[in-house]
Every structure is written in C-alpha cells, then in structure tokens.
Amino acid sequence: MKSLAPLFVVLLSAAFAPRAAHALGQSEVDAIVKELDERQRNNGDYKSLVYIEQKEKNKNDLIYQAVVYRRDEDDKLMILFMQPKAEAGKGYLRIDKNLFMYDPTVGRWERRTERERIGGTDSRRADFDESRMAEEFDARFVATEKLGAFDVAHLKLSAKKGVDVAYPVLELWVDTKTGNLLKQQEIALSGRLMRTSYYPKWEKMHSPSKGSDVYFPKEIRIFDEVEKGNQTLIVMQKVDLSSLEANMFTKAWLESKSR
C-alpha cells in the first residue's frame, strides 16, 4: 500500500486539477475515497486522548474523556473511558467484526452492534476507528459544490453487499484543494438522513511505521438529524503513534485497568 501512496496523490491532483464544475470520472472518485482512507491509516499503532461531549434537548450533557487505542494492521480497536469517575474503567473492544463493551460496575462484557452509541452519545465506533470507506462502500460522483468558502466534491457512497456498517449510504463533501473530508452525512436504508458530521480541523503527524504523514480529524461535530437539537463533539486532545503493548487488545487487559 505504501508504494501506492504517491500514485493516489497524482490521481487526486489529476482529479481536482481543472477545479471546474464538470463531473469527475469513476476512477477519480475512487481515488479520492482511497486517499481519504490512506491518509488516515497508520501501519503501526495509534493512541489518542479524546474528549466526547453530547448535548441533548432537555437532558443533562454527557461528557467523557477516553483513550482510543488502535492496531489497524490487526483490525483492533479499544476505547477506555478515563473520566468522569462514574464512567472510569468502562470500555469497548473491537476485534474483527465483534464489538464488546465492558462495564467495571458489574464486571461483565456484553456484545454490541455497529449501531452502538458510544457512551450513549451520537458517536459510533467508526468515528474512532480506521477509515475503511473504499473497502466498505462503492462511491459515485454527485457534483462539485461550495461548502462555506471551500470548493468541495460531493460524493455518494453505498455500502457493498454483505458489509456490516452503521448506515448503508454516506454522502461526503471533500475539499478539492487539500483532499480533506469536511462534511459527511449518513443515511438509513429508508433514505432518511440520520447524522451530519463536520470535520473542521485536521492535523497531520509523521508516522515512523508508515514512513509518511498520518492525518486525523482534530475535531468532529456530529448533528443528529432525527432528534434535532442533539449534537456530539469529539476532540482529539492528544495523539501518539508509538508502538503499544503487544497483547493489550484483550478483554483481560481492559479489565485489569479497573481492578
């Protein structure tokens, strides 16, 4: 994959070169989606301290600080809640297609689905995980548009057959200048718009394991389109691309942190 990265950059530049309102070809669209995944992918491990805040109408705000651990190569993800005290030690562990949740209050694990609202917020597992859009979806071009002051390519993605995703249709608005994802909408099978997410800030960091930069959204703002007025904010406070412990993506490791 590493060797293909420059090719993606070339394809991406070619795709956006005219910057005009004419349609993008399928290969150009595929290149954009592949590049979105590729620039966020880290061949090694990944750890970030995240702040999650959920606002709901007539309800108390939910606020968490959690650590997200990823080992993309093995398809593993773990989220460990650190704050507030009542939630400390809770966590999620994803291995392949399995998502488990651990609650130290009761000392038990439970299977959860792709639609799990992480910590009861509007965020999903995929918001913290490696981006796999090219693998999970088929993309097509919709239009070139304006998003605020940015020129964006509007793409529509449909889930591939047999792939378990939270929502089967995605719409993306990608900055034509930088290739950054700025806006994403998730649509249910019925055609109903479920969530709109904005990615206003991106950061990049050199990854020694990848040998190039890894991009990650510094901030994600998710607006619930069903329960209007509900919104979730995710802020990546700290990121570390150093290697993690060899066998830490296990139930035992997560349990041990609160015992």
Binding site: E53, Q54, N60, D61, V67, D103, T105, T178, P200, S242
Partner: protein, 706 residues
C-alpha cells in the same frame, strides 16, 4: 267522582284492556321484560367488573390514588400507555417532602414511592457462556474442567459443521462459509488446545470472536420494573405474596421478578414451549392432532433442540443419548445409522397427543436438571441495564431474591407487567446528576474549552473563513501517559463500596421518585380524600397532580369505560327498537279501539282522561313486565354469582374479573335503574298513540255503530 274512584276506574280499565288486547300486551310486555332484564343484568355485571378491576388495580400496583408531578409531559400510565413505558411523568424531587404533606391528610393510610422504567437483561449465547467458563477454568488451572469444556465445544462444533455443510449448496457467500468451517476445524485441532496454555487470552478470544458469532443470539429480556420502597409495598399491597425465594431484606438492594413474567420470559425456551403446549392440551382441551396452531408450535419447538444440546455437559449428553435411544428405538439417522443426540432431541420434542404427558414428565425429570432451566436463577446476581434520563446506558448488579404474585391474578399478564426493585437502585439507574458530578463534568469541559456551535449556522461558522487549508501540525504529544495521576482501580473500589452499603428508611424516603401510590383507610371516601390531598399539595407549594386509580392505570383503566359505553349503546339501540315497536303496536291498538274511545268521549270523557288512560295502561303493563324482567335479571345474576363467570385464558378478562372467575352480584340500584328506564321508554313510546286516541271525536263511535 272522587279522585280515588277515578284512579281505581283507570286501573280497572287498564287491566281490562291489557287482558282484552292480549297479543298487543304480550308483544309490548315481552319487550319491556327483556329490556329490564338486560339493563339489570348488564349494569350488575359492569358494576361487579368495575369492583373487581378496582381491587385488581388498587391492591396490586396503584393504590387508591396516585400522585405525580403536575409538570409531567405525559399522563401516568401504570400498566403502560402510548409511550410503551417511557412516559415522561416528571419527577418528585424529594419524596420525603411529599410524604410529610400526605401524612397530614385524613384517611391516608400510607404513601409508597415509585419509579417505573424499562430495563434489559442481556447475556451472550451458549458459546459465549462456555468461553467464559473456560476463562475461569484456565485461571484456576482446572484441567478436568478444561477437558470437559473442550469436549462440549467439540460437540458444538460438530453440530455447527453439519448445519454449515448443509448450507454449502445454497449459500451465496461461499468464502465466508469456508472461513467458518476452517475456524471450526481449528477449534477442534490439538494445536488450538495447545495454544491455550501458551496464550489463553488469545485462544479464548478466538472462540469469542470467531466461533460464538456462528451461533444464535444470546439472551435479551426487556422488562418493566417498579422501583419502590419494598417494605412499604409489601405491607400496603394486600395481594402481594412471595412465590419463590424470599422478600428483599430491609436496607438491601434487590430485585423480585413477577412470577408469570419469570416463567414466560426467563425460563428456558424449550421448557416454556413445552409448558404452553401442555397447558393448552390439558386446560383448554385442545389436541395437537386437530389444532393447526398447536401443531405449528410443536414444529417450532422441535427445531430448538440445540438450546438443549449446547447446554449439556459431555457426560450428560452421552447418558441422554443412550436413554433417548432406548426410549425411541424407531428413530434412526438419515443414512439409517445410530442417531446422534441432536436427531434424538429433535424427535423427542416432536410430541403428539399420545406421548405428550410422558415426554413432559421425562423432560422435567431427566433433562431440566442438566440444563439451565432459568437463565437467571433466584439467588443470582444479575446485571440490569437501563437508559438514564441523560440517554446513556447504565448497568447495575442486583441480586434476585425471588418471585412474587398478586393473589388471584396469578395468570394475568397485566398484573405481571411490572417487576419490583428497591428504589435506591432505581435512582442509580435513573441517573439523576448530582451537584458533585455536574462540577466534575464542568471541569473536564473547561480543560478542552471547545466552543458551542449553533446547528443553523454550523457551516458558516466552521467553513466560512478564507477557504485556506484546515490542516495543522499538532503539538507534540507523543508518548503521553494516560494513566499518570489516574487510579481507575481505586475509583472503582470506592464506587463499589458506596454501592454495596446498606441503606436505612431515611435514605429510601430522601430522594427522587417518579410517582407515589396512596393507600386509603376508607376507599369509599376516595373522591373526598383526593380533593383534600390535592388541596394540601397546592397549599404546600408542591406542584403535584393527584389522580384516582382508574385514571392512573392508563389504557387498562379505560377498559371499563369502553365496555360501559358499548353496553349503553347496545341498550340505547334495543330501547330505540323497542320504542318503535311499542309505538307501532299501540297505534294499531288505538285504531282497533276507535269505537271504544269514541263511546267514552260521547259519554263525556275528557281528552285528558283518554290520554291518562292510555299512559296509565302502559305504566301498569310496564310495571308488571318490568318487575318480571328485573326479577329475571336478578335471578340470572344470582345464578352467575353462584357459578361464576370464567375468564378462561384471556389475560384482560382475568384482570377485569380480578381473578380466574368473576362472581357478580346485583344491588337495588341495578333494579331501580332497570325499572325506571323501561317505564320512561314505555311512556315515551305511548305518547304519540295516546295523543292520536285523544283526537278521536265521539261522532266516530256513532258512525261506527251505524
């Protein structure tokens, strides 16, 4: 003629006319008799039903009155409303304040705090359960147990393989199927079990992530529960009784399942199905041979054999196989070979009218003790999860102390609609935010300092700048230590200690409740006490709403109103028809009596005399027929009161009847209502013919003579 003689003559004339015009009198009299009987029977049944339902509701969950916040968005519906148990009925911030006011009101015997919510109990499937046991066995270095579990997993793998191989020809995703089969091979390989000693966590993870998803879904039970002061509840709700286990000791957290709910939802699926089939055959006198629905149920049950085979220990499986082979020697595998346990179990569960009793007895005697008959047993600590008011899923562990019933309502689903839990645990699940927690969250928020964005202007706010790149280099956070200054284990320990502490009556009273049941000394003074209680809350400045049990019951409480409405509409229609028939009959009778009336008029009778005569005649007939009808109705109700009306297996009827049979009774009011209504109908229907009669001139009589 003095007044008495006048009425005496009218009475004699009426009786004479009634007997002279036998056919008319018979038709009209029968109608009146039937109408009165119907009113007496109908109103007596309804009153009895209302009385029974009142007892069902007041002595099980509602009390006589219910109190909840006047600021509630939804109506209180104790037995479920339109929001399926998630009604927003506001909250009582501190139950103690409410209790203080209520205790001052005369006729209030007790006030019990409550909080109704929906929760779920979940668990993995059979493979998850075995993987968990394996983890414990590995930690305890219990090799014998590990060997047993290896055998059990191997049997499971065999069953799954045969199912997958059968699917091979029809599946579209052959790659996924091949991968599953490969994983099953790996599970049964020696290499896998050797790896268990090298890296047990990774090996068990393989079972949990690759093997477990191949089996059916795990346990998921949604339940409705009432968090309450269990001591006060037990004391004040007379029908409450413990069936299994014991009551939750004072000051302890604990859970009690409604017995019917426990049997219908927590029991092993095959046992439940078998119970249902057995009940329908024996209590509802159905036969499997003749009842298509029952046959379908048997078919569905037999396909659940794996729920038994997956739970059996290998030695139990072996014994059961030989026992079943002896019991059913005719059963063979498809290729004619000795049948496997799964083939035998499937055949065993294919019950018919002849072998049902024998197999039912065998199941409970020989199979049930070897499987998990209840997913959650009395005495177990179970994990219960509910969405807090902030919308996140919260879980607590609570001990199941036992099951309970409301006497007489053992078979009612409605009475078993709610399980019981202590109110302190309810408050934990309700998730009300304490001041300390609010401050803690504010502190975390301040550290991040993220600005709030309005949805409407989000795009302008976030992307309205120069259109320059939004990518920045992060501050150097490499190697950050997330555990520095964090003692997750210590935090959990403190929380667990606080959770496990015993609580006193003051803790129960001091805190949030969603509603409260008020039990009265004298239920006949319900309206008066309701008004006094409402006034007391208004005076105290607590915005509370006081409602009677019927209103608080939600849709269930309205049943009786609907039934009463239907009866009244039916009576109205019957009376309308009667009115038309009586009217027509009387008009025809008037025509027949033209000469007689003309003669009377010629003899000097006034029009008012003719009118009075007609009406009087109807009243006499109405009284005779009405009394007969009322007596008939009363006798019928008395007979029903003696034999009882069975509710059958109709859940709603059991609840309405206050038990499996209702024994109705009538009162004087029912008789009076019957008589008065029939007299009114009769008089109204006679008005027109009587008026016609008054218009007959004397000359008509003379002409007729000519």
């Amino acid at each position: 003629m003095n007044s008495l003689s006048y009425w005496a003559v009218l009475f004699v004339a009426s009786v004479r006319n009634i007997f002279t015009h036998k056919l008319k009198s018979a038709v009209v009299g029968l109608l009146m008799c039937f109408g009165t009987g119907l009113v007496v029977t109908g109103t007596a049944l309804l009153d009895s039903m209302e009385d029974s339902m009142s007892k069902s509701i007041t002595s099980s969950l509602a009390g006589h009155l219910q109190v909840y916040s006047a600021e509630a968005k939804d109506e209180l519906a104790l037995f479920g409303g339109m929001m399926m148990g998630r009604e927003d009925i506001g909250r009582i911030a501190n139950f103690e304040d409410l209790e203080r006011v209520a205790e001052q009101v005369e006729n209030v015997r007790a006030i019990v705090p409550m909080g109704i919510d929906i929760a779920s109990i979940t668990g993995g499937n059979e493979t998850d359960r075995v993987a968990d046991t394996l983890r414990t066995a590995v930690a305890a270095r219990d090799q014998a147990q590990i060997d047993l579990l290896r055998l059990q997993l191997s049997l499971m793998a065999d069953a799954l393989r045969s199912e997958f191989e059968a699917k091979q020809a029809i599946t579209a995703d052959k790659e996924a199927l091949a991968a599953d089969l490969q994983n099953l091979d790996r599970l049964q390989s020696d290499a896998f079990w050797l790896s268990l000693s090298d890296d047990p966590e990774l090996a068990i993870q393989f079972i949990e992530t690759k093997i477990a998803p191949m089996s059916s879904d795990g346990l998921i039970v949604y339940l409705r529960y009432v968090g309450t002061d269990l001591d006060e509840f037990t004391k004040n709700f007379e029908r409450f009784e413990i069936v299994k286990g014991e009551a939750v000791p004072a000051g302890h957290r604990g859970f009690l399942f409604a017995e019917k709910f426990y049997e219908d939802h927590v029991k092993h699926k095959v046992a439940r199905d078998l119970d249902r089939i057995h009940r329908q055959v024996h209590e509802e006198e159905k036969t499997i041979a003749e009842d298509a629905l029952l046959r379908t149920k048997v078919g569905q049950m037999s396909r659940q054999y794996r729920r038994i085979s997956f739970q059996l220990r290998p030695d139990d499986a072996q014994n059961l196989t030989s026992e079943l082979r002896t019991m059913m020697p005719e059963v063979r595998a498809k290729d004619g070979a000795e049948p496997s346990l799964e083939v035998l179990l499937q055949a065993f569960l294919e019950v018919n009218d002849q072998n049902l009793d024998e197999r039912y007895a065998y199941f409970y005697e020989s199979i049930a003790p070897k499987i998990e008959l209840y997913k959650i047993k009395v005495g177990d600590v179970m994990t219960i999860r509910a969405y807090t008011r902030s919308g996140y899923l919260k879980a607590v562990n609570t001990k199941v102390y036992g099951t309970f019933n409301f006497r007489g309502l053992e078979r009612s689903d409605l009475a078993a609609a709610a399980n019981l839990m202590d109110i302190v645990t309810f408050r934990d699940l309700y998730g009300l935010m304490s001041e300390t927690r609010r401050e803690e969250l504010e502190q975390i928020r301040e550290e991040v300092g993220a600005a709030e964005i309005d949805r409407q202007n989000a795009e302008d706010t976030l992307f309205g700048g120069s259109g320059q790149s939004l990518v920045a280099a992060p501050e150097d956070t490499a190697g950050f230590d997330e555990f520095r200054g964090q003692d997750l284990a210590g935090i959990r320990e403190d929380l667990a200690e606080a959770y496990n502490q015993r609580f006193d009556a003051e803790t129960v009273a001091r805190g949030v409740a969603l509603n409260a049941a008020v039990v009265l000394e004298d239920p006949d003074r319900l309206d008066e006490t309701k008004a006094a209680l409402q006034a007391a809350f208004d005076r105290s400045g607590q915005p509370m709403k006081v409602v009677d049990w019927q209103t608080a019951s939600g849709i269930v409480g309205q049943f009786i109103i609907v039934i009463r409405l239907v009866l009244y509409v039916a009576i109205f229609i019957i009376f309308l028809v009667a009115l038309v028939i009586i009217n027509n009959t009387m008009v025809m009778a008037t025509m027949e009596r033209t000469t007689e009336i003309g003669t009377l008029r010629a003899m000097g009778a006034q029009r008012s005399t003719v009118m009075t005569m007609f009406l009087f005649e109807t009243v006499v007939l109405g009284l005779l027929a009405g009394v007969a009808g009322a007596l008939g109705g009363a006798l019928f109700v008395t007979w029903l009161g003696h034999v009882g009306i069975p509710a059958g297996n109709q859940d709603t009827l059991i609840f309405l009847f206050g038990g499996p049979r209702m024994y109705p009774a009538f009162g004087l009011a029912n008789l009076a209502v019957g008589l008065v209504s029939i007299l009114v109908v009769s008089l109204v229907s006679t008005l027109y013919p009587a008026r016609l009669a008054t218009r007959i001139p004397p000359v008509v009589a003379m002409q007729a003579k000519d």
